[in-house]
Every structure is written in C-alpha cells, then in structure tokens.
Amino acid sequence: MNNQDSLSHVIVVGGGTAGWITAGILAKRFDCANNQSMRVSLVESPNIPILGVGEGTWPTIRNTLQSLGISETEFIRNCDGTFKQGSEFVNWVHTPKDGEKSSYYHPLNSVYHSAYDFNLAAYWLLQDSENRQSYDFATASQAHICSVFKAPKKITTPEFSALQNYSYHLDANKFARFMHEHCVNKLGVEYISADVLRANIDNDGYISSLQTEQVGTISGDFFVDCTGSRALLLGETLGVAYQSIKDVIFNDRAIATHVPYENDDSPIASNTIATAHQNGWTWDIGLSERRGVGIVYSADHTSEAEAELTLKSYIGAQADSLSYRGLQFESGYREKFWKKNCVAIGMSAAFIEPLEASAIFLVEAAANMLAEQFPSTRDDLKYVSEQYNDIFRLRWDKTVDFVKLHYCITKRRDSDYWIDNCAVNSIPESLQDKLKHWQSHLPSKYDFDYAFEPFVLDSYLFVLYGMQFQTKVKYISNRLTEWEKAKYMFDQVQSVANKLNQELPTHRQLLNQVKEYGFSTI
C-alpha cells in the first residue's frame, strides 16, 4: 500500500460492547449501508466469549443509539434495559456503626441543576451545617426522584427525550447481540466469525492483514483492536506496553452474579447503588428482569473467600442459590492507544475499575472521534494519532482522578484498604492540588476548563459535598452577593421535585408501559 492510497477498509476485531459500538458508529458515518466506497468488517472469535459485565452507561449513550437509528423501545425490550439517573453511594463517607446506613447521590441531572452558571454550593456551604438538607437533596430534584424509585420520564415523552437526564442500565450480552443484529442488518457492517491467530506486519510496520484459523487471511487498511484486555493487535502485535496504575487504584478483582427480583412488582432502582464495605464495594444494578450485583476488591487487601462472604451478606437470603463468577483485571492504560494503522478501543486500550461506569462512555467518545477524524491515507496517520493519543491520555488521567476522589477523602478507617487509599502518595498530584485548593476555594468551572473533560464541575460537587468535604467558608462568605437568587433556586429545586414526584410514574411502571406500548418518536 502507498502512503497516498485511501484507507477504505476498516477491520474491527472483537464483538464485545466496544467492538459493536465502534463498528456501528463507523459504518453509520461512512454510510456503508448505501455506499460501497468504505467498508467496515467485524471479526469475532466464535470461541472467546465477551466479558459480559458492564451494565452502567452515561447519558451520551442516548445520542449514540439514536444516531445509529436504533429505536429506544426496541433497545429497552431487547437488552433488559432500565433507566439510570445516577449513582447512590452508600457508606462511603465514614465507617458505619452497626446496621447504620448513610448515603449520597451523584445524579446525572443538568436540567434543574447546573453549577456552571450559578454555583449554589457556596450558599449551601454557608447554611447551618446541623440543620441544612444534604447537598444532593438541596440542589438536585433528581436526588428526590431517585430516592422514591420514580422514572426520569413518562410514556408520553418521546423516545430519547428526558424530563430528568438519564442513561441506561443494560444486559451486556444481550446488548452485544442486539447491536450485532442492527449493525449487520441496518448499517452495512460485514460480520466474520473467526479466531484471529496473529496480525501480519508489512515492511513499514503497519498491519496489513489478519491470519485466522477458519477463513484464512483477511486484509484491510485500518484495524481497530477491540479484543478486550488481551489487546491482540495493539499490545501483542505492535508491542505497546500496558501501564498499571495499581499504586493509585487498588481494586483488581471482582465477583459478579445475577439476583432475581422477589416478585413481579418489586421496585426497581433508577440508579446504580454502590455500597462501600470494609475491603471493597458492591455494585447493584436493577435491570428489568433481574439485578446485576457484584463486589469489586483488591487482592492485596482481602481474599476471594472474604470478598464472597461480603457479597453474600449484602445479597441476603437468596445468596446461596446463586452462581458466582470471579473476574481479574488491572487498572491502567496503554502507553498509547493508536499506533500506525491500529487503534485500541475498549478494555484493550485501558480500564479503570467500574466505580463511575466510564468504560462504555469512553468507547463512544473514542469511536466518535475516530469516525470524525478518520485518516484518509497513511500520510494522515501521524497527525491524527498524536491528537487522539493526547486527548485520550487526558481523558483517562481525569477519570483516574475522579474515581480516586471517592476513595481518598473518606473518613473510613476500618481497614488498611481505606487507610492505604487515603495515603498521600497514592493520590495523583493533579488531584492533590485540586483538593488543597478546594479547602479554601469553591470548586469552579475554571478547574475543569478542558474541552474533553469527562467529569466536570457538577460531578465533583456532588461527590465532594456528598462526602462531606470541608471547604472553609470564612474565605467565601464575603464574596457572595446573590442571596435572593440562591434562595429562589433552592426553593425551585424543592418545588420541581414535588411536581415531578406527582407526575412521574414509578420506574417499574414506566418499564411495563414501554414493554406494552413503547415510546413514540415525537
């Protein structure tokens, strides 16, 4: 291939969440269903199952699905989808006394709460700390809605539109099958079922083709490595090393299970429930047919048996009748994500433990950038890949900071796990600097000024003040002048919450209506 030849055949290797989202976004952008000039193929091993966990998404997924021409109703029906309005963090703030539960919400809402234009946090901090409402309930109507298991919209709301911002919980295996069908039938992705044995490299160090067990050689112009943590192309073939961040993010094991609902009308939470334990945390995700529950922990701090006990006691009575699956991972990322004519997306590129469910979001972001900036020829690769590597390196670094934030400002000291997590040398400097600044300054939009920041001001505020982070008010009070407006906005949050509470169906009611009737497009 010449450096000026057009790169017209993209091969995605891997059919997990990352592979299908990427193939779909590329095929849509290149209009493969109607136009022969670009091809997108997806090669998947018939023998290696997909990871099949990863049930939490971000609101960007709505835009992704809609732009791929997917019906929200079909998606929900086929993937056991439910509506996610944020996360509830239980027992993260301090060590719970026996049977005690404390929690805070990190809602997704930016409709009735956006600190970007007017930062209510300052006025909240100055309220009497004994008597004020918690930060989430004081500033976000969505916290109220979540706490009573209400849905973020009504059956009369058009598909993909929201009354309160939302993303989804989904069944990862069903989602991969659903996307497979849609990408092949509607978007013109070519599907090849085969085990890739190795990639062939040409004299200039580019991947030229794949050697497969079942269908011989498959050649292509550009390769997307979605092979999961093995990173067959970028890692094994092109030799890009993996950098562990174990010194910052300790968790490296998980145990996952599926928990049936007790009955047909058990409430379904419209948020992920992340509960901190002595040596890790459990996720609890309500899908329409079951809950996905699991524990994430650090092998250096506890044993598998111990972790399983914690998980089982969290699940309660049903625990002994369920089957459990152990998973290992290492948080970290590749030195680069894009080398030559190969980019890694998904677990092959990076992984940070799932506390903020950011993996699928970053897959969407990666695929969108790849589609938008897709190199026309090999001559274009250098510029685009450097730009891409810079942006994603930054996105991952920022994600690490934000995940670490949940751990390092806790007052829990009930184990080495929490003590080690708060050790200064485990906290990235970029986060230390911010935390120091915020002891005497209110977090501001200028702390998050980069266009591609994954977590911005509102998210930080919910976690910081949910975790009862102390910002010294004496430095702030004399700079505040808009008390009237603040009072109006605090009242507004409560009245909107009351109104929504009356109007909105329960989460389960809405899911039943979606199953029976579906959303309309308008």
Partner: protein, 236 residues
C-alpha cells in the same frame, strides 16, 4: 360509572332503552376521540388533532371542543351546541369489547348501569319471540361502525409517523376577556414536511387512502378560530 356485561338474551330479554339526549358522555371533556372516517365530517366544525393517552403514550385522534384542558364549549344541558355530535360522545348502552384472549373477536356488551335502560319505557332490545329487535340491530351496527372506524386510526397514525409528518404543537390564544388559553401536548400534520414529501411517499399515502384525512386534519386547523369565537361569545 358503567358496568358492561356481555349481552345475553336470557338475562336481558326484558330490557328497553329510553331515548335521552345523546351527549351525556362528554360533559367535561375538552377532547373527544373520533374514528378516522369521522374526520371528514368533524373537520368542518372542530380542529382534529392527535393527543397522547396518558397511561399508554399511544396516539388518539380527537376533536378539540375546548381551548383549555377539560373545557367543553359544546356541551350544554339542553343538548350539544354543534351540528356534528362526535360519535363516541353519543351515549349508547351497547358497546363492543375485545375478548382478551383473541383480539379479532368482539362481543356485544350492554352497560347495565346506564340510565338509558329501563324495563318499562323505551324501545325493546328483543322482540316477543326473543329475537334481536331491529332497534338493537341498529345499535349494534352503530357500535360496530364506531369500533371499526377507531381501528383505522392506528395504521393511519403509524403511516404519518413513519413519514415524519406529525409535529407536536401547543395551542396558545388570547381571548377577548384577556385570559390566556393554552393547550399542550397536541400533534398535527406538519404542512412544511408534507410539501417536501417525495413523490413515492406521496403516492404511498394516496394508495393507502390516507390523503383525504391528511387534508381534513390540515383544514380543520382553521376551526381554532371558531372555537375562540365561541369562547368569546360564551364569556361575554
């Protein structure tokens, strides 16, 4: 309240129906569902639009008879104030219902709580030999017609949605008395999109017999002014 029971000769042989004025059903309804064919007559008097059913999110074809939620400018204790009484607002104790297990078979039901029923006055449902009276047959035919006409709405609506021809709108008018009348959550034909429709799609609409109803809905928008006029007259 109503209590529909399957019509049964042995139980209902003696029932008679008293004629009372025909619009009792529509007292506080600002919108009244109509069937597809009814659009053609209704459009001369009322705006014909779609609204969503609150509990299913499904579209219903309706006529607007008021300019505020639950306001009827046509209901009066002396009778309906318009020429065309929407069929589903005419009360009849006879209705058809689907059998849950089989959506294609219908059974004839009678509302045993209806005030129109009597054992003394009115016209008999069954004759002396126990056969259905002509009157009952007429009522059943009306009910069948109403049912069939309503069944046509969904395919029509799906066709419009598929062609992207519906748009949401709110009705917002100011009355003479200064009050602001508002109705939200209405859907109607998007004229601009209709005009941009490519030939094949237009032919599809024509072949499916949808075009007259599309235009009937468009023309009916002019009836918003008639409603306002009526409102102004009534509130003077």
């Amino acid at each position: 309240m109503s209590n529909y029971q399957p019509l049964d000769k042995s139980k209902h042989q003696e029932l008679k129906i008293k004629p009372i004025h025909p619009c009792v059903l529509a007292k506080e309804k600002g919108v009244i569902p109509i069937g597809l064919r009814e659009t053609v007559t209704a459009c001369a008097e009322y705006p014909v639009v779609f609204v969503k059913d609150d509990s299913t999110g499904q579209f219903r074809l309706v006529v607007l008879v008021g300019l505020r939620p639950n306001q009827s400018l046509f209901y009066s204790s002396d009778g309906w104030l318009g020429k065309h009484i929407p069929k589903s607002a005419r009360s009849s104790p006879i209705a058809l219902t689907q059998i849950a297990s089989d959506e294609h078979s219908l059974i004839v039901c009678v509302d045993t709580d209806s005030k129109m029923l009597s054992k003394v006055d009115g016209r008999s449902l069954f004759d002396d030999n126990g056969a259905q009276s002509d009157f009952l047959n007429e009522l059943i035919a009306d009910a069948e017609d109403l049912y069939a006409d309503h069944q046509l709405v969904k395919p029509f609506c799906d066709l419009l949605l598929e062609q992207n021809l519906l748009s949401p709108f709110s009705l917002n008018v100011e009355a003479e008395d200064g009050s602001n009348l508002e109705l939200k959550g209405l859907y109607s034909i998007d004229e601009a999109k209709l005009n941009q429709l490519d030939k094949d799609m237009l032919i599809k609409l024509r072949d499916q017999g949808a075009l007259p109803f599309v235009y009937a809905m468009l023309f009916s928008m002019a009836r918003i002014d008639s409603l306002l006029k009526r409102y102004n007259e009534q509130s003077r």
